[in-house]
């Protein structure tokens, strides 16, 4: 075997090993490090905490996965969650009805999803701009409607959401599972899912094949809106109040989780299986760092560093694999 071929097989093997086990390895290392630094890390109640603390992130990541597969990027979820939380609190304060409050919150989440979707797909404005604008205006509205105060919600529903049934399961955990099951179903079994891949693969071709791409793009953002609405309900009930400054940067965590999990930002492939691992990675990172009692500044610094490292790892190993693959297909005719 000559040097180049040897080099190629090496790169393929390394790339494949990293691609398959890299993330699992990083998660394992993180668990070991955090367990060594904090004796309470490896306990059942901490794992319940991890799920509950990151429930909103995990659920929003389902919608973000859809968006990224279709090559759109959604920067709005964090701000929209804050705004929807504020709406829920305000409606509850004025009507005393938690059901009405939740329904109107959900309706606003869907409405914003539809608004963004129409601007992106029917009007044709760049998704980064549309969702960036929503990132700003939704947060601004949330702050303006509350005058920057948080609004307490007193309702039996809040107690219900924070209860652990059988000392084990709380409603946010159930919602996570339901969101992923629903996401799996939508992505793999319905037209919306199939066309999401088509949009990411080659939108023009999909359009020529007769797919009503505009409609499905809006559908995509509506789906994302459902997830954002759920995320807002969980966020509000965990804090027992609507805070206009809540979940700042959630969208970045969600995007990072989706990419670290192994979905390509250029779309067309990937799925929720990858997202689950990415989300677990980020959830453990969030929890581990916050239980270390770091100050805000070092928390963000370490978090940013670990995320960048994980992204670097993911992207390079994927490229190693792809390069090796393309060069071997190119080399084959010559070998014959």
């Amino acid at each position: 075997m000559n040097q180049r071929a040897q080099n190629r097989t090496l790169r393929t093997t390394v790339g494949r090993v990293f691609q398959t086990y890299g993330l699992a390895l990083m998660i394992a290392i993180m668990v070991v490090v955090f367990a060594a630094l904090n004796e309470n890390f490896l306990t059942l109640s901490n794992f319940q905490n991890i799920l509950e603390q990151n429930a909103a992130l995990m659920i929003v990541a389902v919608g973000v996965t859809f968006a990224i597969i279709s090559t759109a990027i959604d920067l709005s979820p964090g701000s929209v969650i804050a705004l929807v939380g504020v709406i829920i609190a305000l409606v509850h304060r004025d009507t005393e009805s938690i059901a009405l409050a939740l329904v109107s919150g959900m309706a606003v989440a869907l409405l914003i999803g539809a608004f963004n979707g129409v601007l992106i797909s029917s009007v044709g404005i760049n998704p980064v701009i549309v969702t960036l604008a929503a990132f700003i205006w939704a947060r601004g509205l949330a702050l303006a409607l509350t005058e920057k105060d948080s609004i307490v919600i007193q309702s039996g529903f809040i107690g219900f959401m924070n209860e652990r049934f059988l000392e084990l399961i709380s409603p946010p955990m159930v919602l996570i599972v339901l969101a992923y099951l629903f996401g799996f179903f939508m992505l793999n079994k319905t037209r919306l899912g199939r066309y999401t891949y088509a949009l990411g693969g080659d939108e023009a071709a999909a359009k020529q094949a007769g797919v009503p791409t505009e409609l499905y793009k809006i559908g995509l953002f509506l789906f994302s809106g459902i997830m954002v609405g759920l995320g807002a309900i969980i966020t509000v009930s965990r804090m027992g109040a609507a805070q206009p400054n809540a979940v700042f940067g959630l969208e970045l965590d969600a995007i990072a989780a989706v990419i670290i999990g192994g979905n390509r930002l250029s779309g067309g492939e990937g799925g929720l299986r990858q997202t689950i691992f990415g989300v677990i990675f980020l959830a453990i990172l969030n929890n581990g760092l916050s239980t270390l009692g770091l100050r805000d500044a070092s928390f963000y610094f370490y978090k940013g560093l670990v995320i960048l490292f994980a992204l670097f790892f993911e992207v390079t190993s994927r490229r190693m694999l792809r390069e090796a693959r393309t060069s071997s297909t190119l080399a084959q005719p010559a070998a014959d």
Binding site: I129, D296, F299, L308, L311, F312, V315
Partner: protein, 329 residues
Amino acid sequence: MAVTQETQVLRARPTEQVADWFNRFGTVLVMVLFVIVFGLTTEYFLTVQNFQNILRQVSITSVLAIGMTMVILIGGIDLSVGSVVLFSAAAMNGLIFNEVLPTGLAIAAGVGAAVLIGLVNGVLIEQVKISPVIVTLGTMVAVRGLGQMILWINNSWLWVTEPIFNYIKTKSWLFVPVPAVIMFFLYVIAAIVMKQSMLGRHIYAIGGNERAAKLCGIPVIRTKILVYMISGLCAGIAGILMSARLSAISPGVGQGLEFEAITAVILGGTSLSGGVGRVEKTILGAIIVGLVLNYMTIKGISAHYQRAVTGFIILAAAFLDHLSRRNAT
């Protein structure tokens, strides 16, 4: 017959003419319109002092928007600049406050650190090939943490003590506040660079068609990394202006500036898909945002509603840009 047909082809349709005209002068038109309307509906708006205020307010965003225009022209985006402003301001004031370096060197070090972050962004984006949105989101978080660490070492706040910052803050040259003088000066340089230099031509070539640019022998990767470094440089200079505006550097400094800069660039008519746009029009975009925010402040509208309105201004700008571009082609 043939001749008339030809002239008809040559003469653009009226809607195209309007669109073309709007493309060229729309930004100026909107600005003049705002000044007239705002001037008629408030008393305080049309005063020299208020215009000085507006210029002071927009100077930081406008300087950031120079780098942002170039980054967007090559088809990228830089979301880290707001954090870099905090970082460079914290670095230079930390060095001055603790008397590590003399003032001039400390400021140079702060700006240099900002350029270095631009280099890191550029290398990660162009050489490691991670998408610019992801990379600069990552550095946005990490660099803010880094800046806050500097503040934390100095007990969470850094007082701005240096007299040169006070000079920039208070003095005006011929009615123009010093930050605005710096801003105009940088825009003149940027406009000359974009029009006359090799770098400017390369930037437009890469934004227009990267593959073609590469095949023509343009050093694509090197140019793009350089552009991210220029964006860092602008953020570093904005850090100087920020130090001159505030009496103390606090952890939240610079938050959201990146979005204001992007708004200015889009309002200035630069296409987000790259290759089309002018740096000198970006300043008009920044001033338009400044006019609107200033007007709302005079009218007593709360800062939070102002923020919401900023979001909708971006949408309106993108929408108008989209319309004029669609009609023009």
